[in-house]
């Protein structure tokens, strides 16, 4: 660090001591004002204030202790720990990434404005800007990085739980089960679906299995291939499989693709599939009202 930068660092340290409360107030107020009308989440202003106070303390300590160009945020630094924790909380609460970045960047502006009140020499000022860039830009990168990581982890968790949720096997009558398929079927899902279905067939001793594909957006050869494998495996367990809910477009596309469904029973609607299944079980639906009348 050259002499000017060292002087600027010392001046910032002094500013953080003497003007601490003014800086804190302006910062927090500006931050909250910027949020007005956007999603506040359930972040109480007192919490932001307390965190900002801690940030000022940590920054003060950082600048005081032989701060130099070689400084890099380390995960063990208290100031980095503070920011990662803050960023993680905000990401989970659904704040925008821009808001958490603005938090650090607005602080930079406030601190520089205070600095200008004391020192207006251009050379000294540009040294001050350089020092602040050095520390705060790196810190804002820490915030962004952690923010992204947290979001990515959330998305991964959600897609995993979606995978679990989206393959329910429903028992709709004694020895009759329904597998409603919704959404895109990739290899991972197809495996999961087959596993769930075969277990349920064995457990319920299903004689009829209805596979409903109303919710499958596009039937390409990969999906058709997965579907056939699942159905073949089910048939090996001795269940009668009925495929329902194929759209007219889906049927025409499969024919064009040259995919044949072989000897699988198909019915247009789920309703037709259920009545077919009941018939196969030897059940008859009787209209109670008509018989009474």
């Amino acid at each position: 660090m050259n002499a000017l930068e060292q002087a600027a660092t010392d001046r910032f340290t002094t500013l953080l001591e003497t003007k601490r409360s003014v800086i804190l107030d302006t910062w927090v107020d500006q931050f909250l004002a910027d949020w007005e009308g956007t999603r506040h989440g359930n972040l109480p202003p007192e919490e932001i204030r307390a965190q900002s106070q801690l940030f000022l303390d940590q920054l003060h300590r950082l600048l005081q202790n032989n701060f130099s160009h070689s400084w890099q945020p380390q995960s063990a630094d208290p100031i980095v720990q503070l920011l990662t924790q803050l960023s993680e909380t905000w990401a989970k609460k659904g704040l925008a990434a821009a808001q958490s970045t603005f938090y650090i960047l607005s602080f930079k502006r406030i601190l520089l404005a205070r600095y200008l009140e004391l020192e207006s020499d251009p050379a000294a000022f540009s040294a001050a800007v350089a020092v602040l860039d050095l520390v705060l830009d790196r810190l804002s990168l820490v915030v962004v990085e952690r923010f992204e990581m947290t979001r990515e982890r959330l998305i991964k968790q959600q897609s995993l739980s979606l995978l679990e949720l989206s393959t329910p096997v429903v028992k709709i009558w004694d020895h009759m089960i329904l597998l409603p398929l919704v959404g895109v079927i990739d290899t991972a899902r197809a495996r999961k679906i087959t596993e769930n279905l075969l277990n349920s067939i064995a457990e319920i001793e299903a004689m009829v299995t209805i596979v409903d594909i109303t919710g499958v957006p596009v039937l390409d050869t990969a999906v058709a291939g997965h579907l056939m494998k699942t159905i073949n495996a089910a048939q090996m367990l001795g269940t009668h499989v009925i495929l329902t809910g194929m759209s007219p477009e889906g049927a025409q596309t499969l024919v064009k693709l040259g995919v044949s469904l072989g000897d699988i029973t198909t019915r247009g609607s789920l309703k037709a599939g259920i009545s077919e299944g009941l018939a196969a079980l030897g059940k008859v639906i009787i209209d109670g009202h008509r018989r009474a009348g």
Binding site: D186, V218, L219, T221, T253, K256
Partner: protein, 139 residues
Amino acid sequence: MNDEAPCLLDAVHIPIQDYADVAEAGRNALLFAEACGFSKVLAYYIATAVIELGNNIMAHADSDGSIVLTSQFEDTRIVIEIIAEDRGPGIFDVDLALTDGYTTNNGLGCGLPGVARLMDELHIETSDQGTRIRARKRR
């Protein structure tokens, strides 16, 4: 050009690096074709072709490629063109790849020949530097 034409839409460009990208491409293709005034069945054909080509990029080209959808005029008809490009090892034998039932990855073997039937035109340029497939469908 013709301002009233419903198909003067921006080209759709989707990088394919993931099976989720393929699904995204299929969804976009369906919307794009319908916005261009294609019937439901034709839009479904185009979306399926896009998904087949996307799955091919994933399976054979080390997940490195892209799909671009454009709409054009041909005489007075609207044409949707799919361009699927990758930097994979190329198709060894194009005629064989277009044969029903031929597969190198345990699939059904009707993806590429299926695309040929779903679309009006199919042009394949391939080398060991990669593959570029151009498929067109007229409204």
